[in-house]
């Protein structure tokens, strides 16, 4: 059994550490690119959302290098994500690939037994003892947390650093180094080193960079290719960004959902505007916008794929958030047709607006 996974931001690094340490055979597809998108769009239904297409592109690349099993998380919620696996399986079958799918659905819809059965299916190829398997999972989770922290720190520091570009450089060399390393323990150590190096960057807190929250549909905010590397663009423009939705957040959310203790802060913040769960991460999106206003950020950028149903609902609510909480918000819709130039222009125009708005406020005070 050779397992592969679809890409989602830096998750592949943690998965690599997990499988290396479990001794399971795996293939990580090449990072998302125009090629993955081209392949994916060719074989996917035309109107499906962007994440679906990229994922299909990932599978096909992996299958060509010998993968025979796809490991995927699922959902049975009101949104399309839950239907992904069904359609993707058929697409691969039609292409003549006999691929097994192992889908980690939430406990609430398939029951604990079924979930354990599926986990065991993955675990069975590892020769490690149960205890050291637990250790591997723990190690992988630690790594994921570290990566998320490093990324978040770099995004914030970008607005304050004395040597522009330093944080961005560290971040990208960190990812490269971890990916090259096949010893899990060493990989985690590399992460720790980088975490310290980031902290050591010289910063100038008297600077007043624009502060922006990146919000929206979870896949498109996390996976950099799908949002045309917006966080990199913003780092280059010396903007300090934050994003609450991360893979670590997602794992915690999934685990805590069963006992309904998940992301209280975000959900409470969204209550005023959207008190009910409607699928996807629409409530989180609204909650993040409200919190961003509370934390006195300068603005927020919402990103979602064309046709994303929950985010369309949030988009119609966001103008009210802007009005009531005085937080300018830019909505960006991405699909395979999104042109880089137009996209950049819109971001730049938004930043200009924020700058002007800030000066205006300063003058008035």
């Amino acid at each position: 059994m050779r397992i592969t996974i679809p890409h989602l931001g830096n998750v592949y690094l943690a998965v690599k550490i997990l499988f290396d340490s479990l001794g399971i055979d795996y293939i990580i597809p090449p990072l998302n690119s125009k090629e993955a998108l081209r392949l994916g769009s060719k074989y996917s239904p035309e109107e499906i959302c962007l994440p679906f297409k990229l994922m299909v592109g990932n599978y096909i690349a992996s299958v060509e290098s010998g993968a025979d099993t796809v490991l995927l998380v699922g959902s049975c919620g009101p949104c399309r994500f839950g239907e992904y696996s069904e359609l993707q399986m058929r697409i691969l079958k039609q292409l003549g690939h006999n691929i097994e799918f192992i889908i980690m659905d939430p406990v609430s819809s398939i029951g604990l037994n079924e979930l354990f059965k599926r986990v065991r299916k993955v675990g069975s190829t590892s020769k490690k003892s149960a205890l050291s398997k637990m250790g591997s999972i723990f190690l992988a989770f630690t790594a994921m947390k570290l990566i998320d922290e490093i990324e978040a720190a770099a995004h914030t520091i970008a607005g304050y650093e004395t040597n522009p570009g330093e944080a961005k450089g560290l971040l990208s060399s960190c990812k490269k180094e971890v990916f090259k390393c096949s010893d899990p323990i060493k990989a985690v150590n590399i992460l720790k080193q980088y975490s310290n190096r980031l902290k050591a960057i010289t910063v100038d807190y008297t600077k007043k960079p624009l502060k922006i929250a990146v919000i929206g549909e979870i896949y498109t905010v996390i996976e950099p290719f799908s949002n045309l590397y917006i966080e990199d663009i913003l780092m280059d423009m010396k903007v300090s960004t934050t994003r609450k939705l991360t893979p670590t957040w997602w794992v915690k959310d999934m685990l805590l959902k069963t006992i309904k203790l998940n992301s209280r802060e975000l959900l409470n913040a969204s209550n005023e505007f959207l008190p009910l769960y409607i699928g996807g991460h629409a409530r989180e999106c609204i909650g993040e916008a409200v919190l961003a206003a509370k934390e006195q950020m300068d603005g927020a950028i919402q990103i979602f794929p064309m046709g994303c149903m929950p985010e369309i609902v949030s988009k119609s609510i966001l103008p009210s958030v802007t009005q009531k909480k005085k937080l300018p918000i830019l909505s960006l819709v991405v699909d395979e047709m999104t042109g880089e130039a137009g996209y950049r222009t819109r971001i730049e125009a938004f930043l200009d607006l924020l700058e002007r708005r800030r000066e205006h406020v300063r003058i008035r005070c």
Partner: protein, 316 residues
């Protein structure tokens, strides 16, 4: 108290219930007009660009009556069958309305769960309380509304001269003549028989979807997909015309599932939005019907790729 009911989305299916319920409570009921150009334009103006046409049209309906009523019924229908949903946009419908349309009156915000009476009554109670404080009266209105609803039936089943097609899609697209540009009458005029998903039983569709890996979690996905497969297997139809909306996430999945299961069986997918032209649609429907006719005449008939493209089929 004047109760406003927009004639959009699942109004077509549940209007008997809502109208009986509120009239029994003694309130004046204001229903918006049939969808027309003004309503659609208003919807397009108020609603977010990215939404699907039915939701936009619903915005138009709501906007057209908002000034004439004191309480607007925006049904937040979470689900109508157990463990199944309809669409995320339904779940957030009241929010979409109040944040997109200025100066709306009071709106019903409570969620509606229709899978059992107890849950459904909760909604009726909260909506009814806005009209009267008399809970016995609400209960009575609920019971008679339920009775009336049971008697009402939607769906089209009409025999044709030679051909019968399944008209598939969400009910609010099929039964809104303006939205679908009168396709039902056009088919009638050509002597084409029509059948809709309502005429396949729930148990049959449940049986049918067992062949899927994953249990469907949208009611209309199970209904439409299941019905299409059943009708096809029983050889009751010669083709499928799927009326869909651009940017409908649910339809994109259903259509794909149907395509995989029916193989080369003819299916025409018509996607609607506010820019869809009537002439273009007519030509495509005609080409499709022509193709079906030839196919029926000649058992081994295989459409040429050109015909496939023109009639909106997947060329093999």
């Amino acid at each position: 108290m004047r109760i406003g009911i927009p004639k959009g989305l699942l109004y077509c299916r549940y209007h008997t219930f809502f109208e009986t319920f509120f009239s029994k409570l003694g309130s004046e009921i204001i229903v918006s007009e049939q969808t027309n150009k003004d309503i659609m334009d208003m919807g397009v103006e108020f609603c977010v660009d990215e939404a699907c046409l039915p939701v936009k049209v619903f915005h138009g309906h709501a906007a057209s009556i908002k000034d004439r009523c004191d309480y607007l019924i925006i049904p937040r229908i979470m689900s109508i069958c157990k463990k199944e949903y309809i669409c995320p946009k339904f779940c957030g419908l009241p929010e979409m309305i109040i944040h997109s349309i200025p100066h709306v009156p009071k709106v019903s915000m409570e969620p509606i769960y229709m899978q059992n009476e107890k849950e459904f009554f909760k909604w009726c109670f909260s909506a009814g309380s806005a009209v009267t404080k008399n809970s016995a009266k609400i209960k009575k209105a609920f019971i008679s509304a339920k009775k009336a609803q049971k008697k009402s039936r939607t769906g089209i089943i009409e025999p044709g001269q030679k051909l019968t097609v399944m008209l598939a899609g969400h009910p609010y697209v099929i039964f809104d003549e303006y939205l679908n540009m009168g396709i039902v009458n056009k088919l009638r005029a050509k002597g084409i028989g029509i059948i809709t998903e309502e005429f396949v039983s729930d148990s049959e569709t449940c049986e049918e979807v067992k062949k899927l890996v994953k249990k469907p979690f949208w009611t209309f996905q199970r209904r439409i997909f299941g019905a299409a497969c059943v009708l096809l297997r029983h050889k009751r139809i010669d083709g499928i015309i799927y009326l869909s909306s651009f940017a409908c996430g649910i339809d994109s999945v259903i259509i794909d599932l149907i395509r995989y299961c029916i193989g080369h069986f003819p299916m025409l997918v018509i996607k609607l939005d506010e820019h869809t032209g009537e002439a273009g649609m007519d030509t495509r429907v005609e080409a499709f019907i022509d193709m079906l006719e030839r196919r029926v005449l000649n058992e081994n008939y295989n459409p040429s790729p050109w015909e496939c493209v023109f009639s909106g089929q997947n060329p093999v």
